[in-house]
Structure formats: C-alpha cells, structure tokens
C-alpha cells in the first residue's frame, strides 16, 4: 500500500516533466534549444485555467492550454528560425515574458496577483490516493503516451527522420531538398503544444492557476532531456527518476537524514555529470543552437 501511494504520487509529479520534455526533445532534436519550455508551460497553465473557468469544461481548458503553449513557441520560432536571433537570449526572454503576461492577465481576468479562482479539472472524486483515482484522469493517459508518441514520430516517421537530420547536419538535409526551416517550425510548434499540455495538467490538477506555478519544472524537463541524452525512452525514465526523488523527499519530510534541498539538486547535478561525461558523455545534436546557416 505504501508502495502504491508512492507510485501514484510519483506519476502525478512526473506528468508535467513528461509533457514538457516530450515537447522539448522534438524541439532540441531539430536544433532549437528548449530553453523556453518553462514559458510554454506557464502560458499553457494560465490559458488552461482561463479556458476551463469560462467554459466549465476541462476539455476546453486543455485545448486552450495547448494553444497557449503553441503561441509562445510560435514567438520563439519567429525570433530564432525566421529572424535568426540568438536562441539562448530569446529563450530566456520567452520565460520572462510568460511570467509577466500571465501575471498581468491574472490580475486583469481574476483581479488577483497570486491565483485564479477554482476551476473545473479532470480528477474525478478525491477519494483515495491510489492508482485507481489516477486512471480516471484522461490527462494521466495523455502524459503517459506523450513520450512514446514523440519517440515513435522521431524514429518511425519520415517527419521524424527529417527532424533528426536537420538537428544534426542541416547542410546534408538541405542538399537532398529538405526544407530545413519548415521542419524546424513544425517541430517547435509541436513542442509548444505538448509542453502547453503539461502546463494545463498542472492547472487542471490543482484546479487553479497560481503565479509562477511551473516553478522551474521546464528546466527540470530540460535537465531530463540532457540526462536522457535526447533519446525519448531514456528521457522518459529520467523524468520518472527525478519525480521519484521528489516524492521520496516529500514523503520523508523531516525524517530524512538528507536535507530536502539536496534532494532538489539531484536532477541538476546529474545533468552536469552527464554533460561533463564522467560516465559516458552526453552529446547534444550537432546543430543545436545554430540557426544561422
């Protein structure tokens, strides 16, 4: 029973990571750094709360969250693919913009600077914290499927093959007539949509939007992508690993010999270790971050 509760909590915590890193993998494999994931999620969360609040339907909320993430990804695409602005700067700015815009409209729409009113979500009764309750939430299923679907697209479809080629060697892709910019646009829009769903999950799961509710989850997703070496199955496992560590820390609050802050650091430390190549180096897509060719 202990174990099942642990498992279900881990799954819930992993959801936003899974969505965001599934989207992020697609973007990064096409050569666009996923620094704006945090912003796509935040925008997705806010739009989902807004949509759900006004329509009383979590489904409309989900659609709105998806759209909210896509719009921010489109802005990122415009600046980095079309105008070839520096991806790192644009990514950082997208996150700042998401914080500002959601705060502004939080006050505009709900007159609050901290949170929205309660909005309808998916979770059926709050009874029991077991796996059964989770199974009633359609978003859990979507989150569980997000990474396999992205993996399937990446490795099993012509579009995925082109994404991988474009992110690794755009010159070679161009030489066989692949429209590099168009492939990247599609990848980044999809990444925004999927990450936006991750934001929607947060808002609908908690039945409200709160200021900066993503709280760095986009960066944990980015860490999972790097730690999982840009390979969907491994990225998915990294998300679960990070979520399990977090669950562990919550469950053992106070009782643990290890302070919570050190558990918090785990994803980031592991990412640096992976990048520095202490145990087999994590090598990013060769054209990652280079849009000016």
């Amino acid at each position: 029973m202990m174990f099942l509760a642990f498992l279900s909590q881990t799954i819930r915590i992993a959801m936003p990571y899974l969505f965001a890193s599934a989207g992020g993998v697609l973007s990064e494999r096409s050569g666009l750094i996923g620094l704006g994931l945090e912003g796509y999620m935040l925008s997705g969360a806010f739009c989902a709360a807004l949509g759900s609040y006004y329509s009383h339907s979590p489904w409309i909320g989900l659609a709105a969250g998806l759209a909210g993430g896509t719009v921010f990804a489109a802005l990122y695409g415009l600046c980095s693919v079309r105008y070839k602005g520096d991806q790192v700067v644009v990514g950082v700015a997208i996150n700042l913009l998401a914080v500002g815009i959601t705060r502004f409209f939080l006050r505009f729409a709900f007159g609050s600077s901290s949170n929205s009113p309660r909005v309808p979500g998916f979770s059926v009764a709050e009874t029991g914290s077991g796996l059964l309750a989770l199974a009633h939430d359609p978003m859990i299923w979507m989150g569980a499927l997000a990474m396999p679907v992205v993996g399937w697209v990446l490795y099993r479809t012509p579009f995925g093959l082109r994404v991988r080629a474009v992110g690794e060697h755009p010159g070679a892709a161009l030489s066989v007539g692949i429209p590099v910019a168009r492939v990247r646009w599609l990848a980044v829009l999809l990444s925004g949509a999927i990450a936006g769903m991750g934001g929607a999950y947060l808002a609908l799961d908690q039945h409200q939007f709160t200021d900066q509710m993503t709280a760095g989850r986009g960066f944990i997703a980015l860490a999972a992508i790097i730690f999982g070496r840009w390979d969907p199955p491994r990225v998915g496992l990294a998300c679960l690993l990070f979520a399990a560590a977090e669950t562990f820390q919550i469950r053992l609050q106070g009782a643990s010999a290890v302070p919570a802050q050190f558990v918090e650091m785990i994803p980031y430390v592991l990412t640096i270790v992976a990048l520095a190549g202490v145990v087999g180096r994590a090598v990013p897509p060769a054209a990652l971050g280079k849009t000016d060719e």
Binding site: Y155, R156, T157, P158, G160, L161, R162, R164, A165, E168, H169, G171, A172, A173, S175, V176, G177, I178, P285, A286
Partner: protein
C-alpha cells in the same frame, strides 16, 4: 571547342550518343572567373576523367552541370536535351548525381536512413525501415557498393561513407555520376575497391565523370580525359593515346611564368653557419580520422635558404605547418629550432625562439577581423607590447605606423578594422607582423593566396630579402610557379610524405607535376 595548344580533340561523331555536352561555359564569382568558355563532351557509358591543377575550374564546371550554379554563358545538353541553367532538383530527376568532396551525411543516422532521406519509403505514413534497408542492400548488391544498411554512418570508415554517398545518388536514379576527388580521402585498398565498382557501373551502362588531379588514377580507370587549365578546356584525349607526361604538361602549361622569375634563380648567399635553423626529424602527425596526415617526414632548412614544398593540397602540408607552429599535436618525431628541441613547446615559446608563421588561412587564423590594423599587428606579440599587464597603446600605435609605412598597408589608418581591407592588404598585415620583427625561421603557408598581382610581387620580394638576410624559410604553396620562383630546394608532398626533394635546377614543372600527381616516385 577551344584547344589553345593545338591538341585536336577527337569529336565523337557517329560514336555512341553524348551523355553530357557543355559548350562555352562562363562562370564568375564576383571578380573571379572560375570558368571561361569551358567545354566538356562525355560519351554515354564511359569513365571520363576531368583533370587540372587546383583552381583550374573543374569543380565549378561540375557544379554547373549538377545544377548548383547557373552559368553566365554557354549551353548544356544532357542526353541530347537542352538543360542550360537547370536546378539541382531537375538534375537529380534527370539522373545526374554528384558526390561531393566533403560528404553530406548525417553521422547519427544509419546508412539506410541517409540514403532515403528526403525520399523516404513509407508504409501507411510510417517510415518503412525494412523497405529502406532492403532497397539499399539490393542497390549495393547490384553495384558492388556493399555497406551494411543498418549501421550508423558515424561508425563507418571513410571508404564506406563514400559508398553511402554514391548509393545516395544512385537511389535517386542517377545514371550520370560525378565524383569530385573521390580518392583524396581513401586508402589504397579502398581506391582499388572504388575502381572495381566504377568500372562495373560503366559496364552496365552508367556514365561516370571523375574529377581528379592524380594522373595514375586517370591512366588506371578512365576511357577519355579532358584537361582544364585556368578555367578553360585545353585538351581532350582518349586515355590509351596519351601518357602521364603529356597530361602533366597540359595541366601545368608552359606559358605561365611570373615576371622576374629569371632573377629568382637562387643566388646562394654566404651561409655563416651550416647548422640547420629548422630541423625536423621523423615527424608524424595524426589527423581527426586517426590516420597519419604527416607520416614520418624529415628535413632541415638552413639559414639563408628557402625550402619550397609543392604538392596538391590535402597531402599533409597543412598539418605539417601547424605541427611546426605548435598548433597541432605531434604523435611522433621531433622539431628543433637552432638545435633546441621545441616539439612540446607552446606557440608563444616557439615565437620567442625566433619562429614566425604566415598561416594559410588569414581570415580564420592570421587575423582577428574585427580588430584594428594596429591590434592585428601585435597578435602573437602582445606580451612584448605590454607593461605590467597593460597593452602599451603608444607602443602599439608607433609600431602600426611604422609597419603600415614599411609594408604599404592601405588604408594607412591604424584604427581601421582588418575586416574592411582588401585581401592583399589583409595579407600585408600578416606579412608585416611576421616579417617585420626579429625572427630566424619563417613558415610561409600559401603566402600569396587570394591577393592581387602587385601584392604578390611585393610579398615575393620580402621573402627574397629575408633569405638574403640569412633567414631560414619553409615555403608551402599550391602554386607551382611560386614555389619554383622562390625556392632553393623543392620538396614534393604526396600522401603525407616527401615524394622527392630536388635541388632547384632539377625541379621543372614536368618533373614536379609527375611527383605531385603520384605518376612517379611512390615514397621517399
């Protein structure tokens, strides 16, 4: 067809129809005329070698044929159809495929994925991996280009990667295949394998155009040879009717001798000391592919001597010079400056020991393009222009004024950024910096590349003066005329080794051409 030196190209009348016919092709890039009235006739079902020195316009002409460039003038027909100025896509659709010198492969994808990329085989919207692998395997079986379709390209040897490149073009339906310097990167057994594949393809009706400057290859596999020089076609002969010597003569030409050459015959200055200023012993340098770019080369340069290194580019000259300058790790052997071992010493230590270096790529290495002329004139010497951690601005400016005047750099404005200068004036900055200071040994790599005639004369005069002053100079140049005009001895580099070291008197273009193209002297 133009045939300036009287060679009558046998026109293939009545013979099998022409696969390719290019007439009077002009192609310019800004002021550079890469092709001037170039022509090419290739019969169907032959291996046609297109030969010429570096910069003769071979690759440009083939890029025109493959649709990458639209020619400024001239007509192109393929299989009797006028295709002047077509696009890459049209060329591919018509069965013309080009294998570039630098591979266009995605290293993280498999062989099959690379081959089908852009023209994927799908089954119900899905990538049909098995179908792709089967197609590649079948193609490989038919042509002899055997590569395991499921392997990652990053794991392949260079020869295998090249097979994938050829498979890529064949998969797209190429029946006319252009290969640009295909053997430059291959080992001898891989070369033999390539010839086997190409002859097999020819025998089954495909047409192959082979760009090369290695005459042994031409003699070994081609049916017909077209020779280009300075952008124009200078000859077309059947391979069985010619000899390497004749081809070398056509390639190099005899009418291209720089003014002032006669005076350049080495006037051996008095050598005060006979000890070598630069002494290189059994130097071996590994390249990125772990093969030996420089393979056990030994030589010495004495004070007051210019040792010229001739050779087709890519035979290890770049790696040799960089290793001598301290920019590349040496895997074996030793470098001595005035008898002192500097093999493991830094760039700066070598500079302080009297080594100057004119690098072959001034845009990448020789200059910081966004720095001013004055700042560029101290690059590598910055520690000599500093006092207590600060750059001595007055000293830098005074140095700039002096060098600008002495080397006639224009504009004569120390604050102008190097980027704004012409190629010749940029090179003068490098020359001024490296030769306008105390040095005893100079590495001059392609010192006149891309500069105008006036600057060439000036730079040559500087090199001669330096020799007269007793400096030891290692000159590396792809321009044979330049090597012959300046050197006291000439070495020819081929395949990472010195194929020959000749005194100036014995070094004629014909002899050097033979060594450069591998037609004689396999190793030193």
């Amino acid at each position: 067809m133009t045939a300036p030196d009287g060679t009558t190209p046998p026109t293939p009348d009545g013979a099998p129809p022409l696969a390719v016919s290019l007439r009077g092709i002009d192609m310019s890039f800004g002021p550079v005329r890469a092709n001037r009235g170039a022509s090419l006739d290739v019969a169907r079902g032959e291996i046609h070698a297109l030969v010429g020195e570096n910069g003769a316009g071979k690759s440009t002409l083939m890029r025109v044929l493959s649709g990458m460039y639209a020619p400024d003038a001239g007509t192109m027909t393929v299989n009797g159809r006028d295709v002047t100025g077509w696009s890459t896509a049209q060329a591919i659709d018509a069965g013309v495929g080009m294998v570039h010198q630098h591979f266009m492969l995605v290293p993280t994808l498999t062989v099959a994925e690379n081959v089908v990329l852009g023209r994927e085989i799908t089954a119900a919207g899905r990538l049909d991996r098995r179908g792709a692998e089967r197609a590649v395997a079948e193609l490989g079986e038919r042509t002899g280009l055997v590569v395991a379709p499921g392997r990652l390209v990053s794991e392949l040897s260079v020869g295998e990667a090249q097979r994938v490149e050829i498979l890529k073009t064949l998969y797209r339906g190429a029946r006319i295949l252009i290969l640009d310097e295909p053997t430059a990167v291959l080992s001898p057994p891989e070369v033999d394998e390539l010839w086997r594949v190409l002859t097999h393809m020819r025998d089954t009706g495909d047409t192959i155009i082979l760009i090369t400057h290695k005459l042994d290859e031409v003699m070994a596999v081609s049916n017909t040879v077209t020779v280009m020089r300075r952008g124009a076609t200078v000859g077309r002969v059947a391979t069985r009717d010619t000899s390497p010597a004749e081809l070398a003569r056509l390639m190099v030409g005899r009418d291209v001798v720089l003014a002032g050459d006669a005076a350049a015959a080495p006037q051996h200055s008095i050598r005060a000391e006979r000890r070598a200023a630069l002494d290189v012993r059994e130097l071996t340098v590994a390249d990125a592919r772990k093969t030996h770019a420089v393979d056990g080369v030994s030589f010495a340069v004495e004070p007051g001597e210019i040792l010229g290194i001739a050779g087709v580019e890519g035979n290890g000259q770049t790696e040799l010079v960089e290793a001598l300058a301290g920019l590349r790790e040496v895997s074996a052997g030793a470098v001595l400056l005035h008898g002192r071992d500097v093999t493991r010493q830094s760039v700066r230590a070598r500079g302080d020991a009297g080594l100057s270096h004119i690098p072959e790529d001034r845009q990448l290495r020789g200059l910081v393009l966004d720095y001013s002329i004055a700042d560029n004139l101290i690059l590598g010497q910055q520690h000599r222009f500093s006092r207590r951690g600060a750059v001595d601005a007055a000293h830098v400016l005074e140095n700039a004024r002096r060098q600008i005047e002495r080397f006639d750099i224009r504009p004569a404005d120390p604050a102008a950024p190097a980027r704004a200068l012409s190629g010749g004036n940029q090179q003068k900055i490098v020359i001024a910096r490296e030769m306008g200071r105390d040095f005893t040994v100079l590495l001059a790599a392609q010192p006149t590349r891309g500069v105008d005639v006036g600057a060439i004369e000036f730079i040559h005069a500087q090199l001669r003066n330096a020799r007269a002053e007793g400096k030891a100079i290692l000159l590396v140049s792809a321009d044979l005329t330049e090597v012959l005009a300046l050197s006291d001895r000439v070495a020819v580099m081929y395949g990472g080794r010195f194929a020959a070291v000749l005194p100036r008197a014995e070094a004629t273009k014909e002899v050097l051409g033979a060594y450069m193209t591998g037609a004689s002297g396999r190793a030193a």
